[in-house]
Amino acid sequence: MPRNSQKEPQYLDAEPTKRFFVRMLVRDIELVPAIVDLVDNSVDGAHKQSKAKRPTKGAKSRLPLERYSVDITLSDSAFVITDNCGGISLDDAVRYAFRFGRPEDVAPLEGEVGQFGVGMKRALFKLGQSFVVTSVTEASEFEVVVDVPAWLEDRASWRFPLKRSGPRARSKAIGTIIQVKDLLPSVASEFAQDTFAQRLRDQIEFRHSAALDEGLRVRLNGHRLKGRAPRLLLGDAIQPRVIHEAITANGDNVDMRLYAGFVDLKDENADTDNPDEFTGGNLAGWYLVCNGRMLLFADRTRLTGWGVEVADYHPQYRRFRGYVLLTGNSSAMPWNTAKTAVDEDSPVWRAVRPYIIDALRDARSVMNRIKEEVQNNDESARPVTATLRMAEPTRLASLPKRPQIFVPPKPPKSPPTTRKIAYDVPVNEFNQVKEALEVDTATDVGRGTFGYFYRREIE
């Protein structure tokens, strides 16, 4: 590097260090979404493969994704995800799959999640200190092995060393294996907790319910996951709020589908009793899904209006579910770079949030009615509760459009016809009166003495 030492310096060095870059990269992502990023890649691969392979003769009755599987294993020493979903071609790996950020000449696809081109790398760095990615496609295969501390030390190069690459050996099964070892201590301790796997399961089951229903086999530590497609109660006298709207903000068009309604409490109770079925966490709240990526999961914070536009969340609202599905250009989505949280300054979010708030107010007023009914009326006089009981849990896609939640109209409050009396009396006197009245309960003592006075002094 010849440099004229006579000259004054012309530039200041602003090149980032690798260490800084990696720290920033992993800082804003949580562990669950980081892993979900890897699952997303597998599911995308399965869809692509099944589209390319269809139609196969005589296989009509088969589910489109049933030949594809994803296995995730978490332990305190390693993370492994294995799939047979087509693999990453050597060419893609060389050109962009391992680049930080999507190169300008690789166009993003409408409706896809990956906008920033960081998902897989970020997950790998987030998890541990060394990783191996092996991928086999029909035509090619490669293996890359990275020792992260050593890679960080090497300041000159931003390349990952290919251990092996070339045309596919015939014996090799198609697919990708990602192994991360030397887990970071915080990751290992999270993996050691049951609740971590449960959270991961919930997110994958919800997020990929369609793929799971189409036969994709996803196993987490050996347990097969089931599609958990959201459903809301629909009946003759109860209909959720369902809105389809094209949102335009700053020149971006995003398709919004909003569903707000209620679930059956009986099912909820059944679920909580079965630890295998249910995490025990509360599922009430708002769900925001952008291009298939779940940004909010059962949100009950100020972000979606709780505690600002309506009261703070309270268990009386536990029947509530709200789903907002956004599809469109990835760059318009209201997410932060990690795609893990809502960017509140996003123009699309500012346009969508009012719909969320209006729906929440609507639902709140119905839930307040339910609470009043249950508190004040006996079972024969609870029209909304009865309506919900008659309704059917229905998939979002099958719900008819409705600008408002529909429930039976509200009768005006009726004036109270009874009054409750409560007071304390000395125990010995109480017992004497009880004996004299020949009754067993305090309620009957009260009624008896009141009746005695009424008959003698009022009637």
């Binding site: 505690g307 600002v308 536009e309 309506v310 009261a311 500012r350 949030r353 009012p354 708030i357 209006d358 107010r361 609507d362 709140r364 007023s365 307040n368 009615r369 509200k410 005006p412 409050k413 009726s414 004036p415 109270p416």
Partner: protein, 297 residues
């Protein structure tokens, strides 16, 4: 005259508000407006709005079991009653037509009130008028700040309201006004479409407790000139800032009223020497709102 008999300050406050509402004719004919209020079984404000402004389409929100009594007292058939609390019922009403909304609560400012105010901020269209009345009574010294924080959430309390003394006297009402305005503006800002709020009413009055009424008009660029034409500022009882109009009328006999009116502005002291200067001033400020006093025969 029922508004007068027991609650003169409240009635004067009502008349002042009605007077300000009359200026809305700069936006559109008054009978194009609809009115939403909390009539109570007396429907006093409904009666005034109906008779003074000619507004017929009205909704009263009532959370009561006394359905029969309220229905019985409903003065005009064009008033419909929405049975339920304001949080539940207000959001069901159409809030986009030209509206005058007067939420005359009897409670102190609290989170439920703020939820309603926020909703109005989100939804009211330019040219609509919003009024909120709340109890501004301050609890015992030592409990004031805590009480306010509890009612509205400490996050909403302005940063310079940090000591009991800031909530003395009408201090609670002053804090309420700022919190109400912030909430309304926040509601307006959450649905960005060029609207803004112009305060017109900031009245403090003595009923059985300290009470306050606050509100104004929603305006945007297209209605700006109409707002200017309405010229609210030249009404003597209008306040566009934190300086309230205080309604606290002296108790006077008919004879005293007549003399005071006749001699307004000159030789006050000589007129009725037993009256405090302050009372004479209050009278002069508010005399227009007193009921007409017949001349002694």
């Amino acid at each position: 005259m029922r508004g007068w008999q027991f609650r003169p300050n409240k009635q004067i406050q009502r008349l002042m508000c009605i007077d300000a509402m009359r200026r809305l004719s700069a936006f559109r004919p008054l009978n194009d407006y609809r009115y939403i209020g909390l009539g109570g079984y007396e429907f006093i404000d409904f009666d005034l709005v109906y008779r003074s402004l000619g507004i017929k389409r009205m909704v009263s929100i009532e959370d009561t079991g006394e359905v029969e009594r309220y229905e019985f007292n409903r003065p005009f058939p064009t008033i419909t009653i929405a049975w339920g609390n304001t949080n539940d019922e207000l959001q069901k009403l159409a809030l986009d037509p030209p509206l005058i909304v007067w939420l005359d609560y009897c409670c102190a400012l609290n989170k439920n009130v703020l939820q309603d105010v926020r909703l109005l901020g989100e939804k009211l269209e330019p040219g609509s008028f919003v009024l909120v009345s709340v109890n501004a009574h301050q609890p015992r010294d030592g409990l004031r700040l805590e009480d306010l924080e509890h009612r509205v959430d400490s996050g909403r309390v302005p940063i310079d309201v940090s000591e009991e003394k800031h909530l003395d006297g009408w201090g609670m009402a002053a804090a309420h006004r700022r919190i109400l305005e912030a909430e309304l503006r926040s509601g307006i800002g959450s649905r960005p479409n060029g609207r803004r709020f112009e305060q017109v009413v900031n009245i403090h009055y003595r009923d059985t407790n300290r009470m306050q009424t606050w509100g104004g008009v929603i305006v945007d660029a297209a209605t700006e000139h109409r707002f200017d034409a309405a010229n609210f500022r030249n009404l003597p009882h209008v306040s566009t800032n934190d300086q309230p109009v205080i309604v606290n009328v002296p108790v006077l006999t008919a004879r005293e009223v007549l003399v005071l009116e006749q001699r307004m502005g000159s030789r006050r002291k000589a007129a009725l020497p037993w009256m405090a200067d302050k009372d004479v001033q209050d009278f002069e400020l508010l005399h227009r709102w007193y009921p007409r006093v017949p001349a002694p025969m």
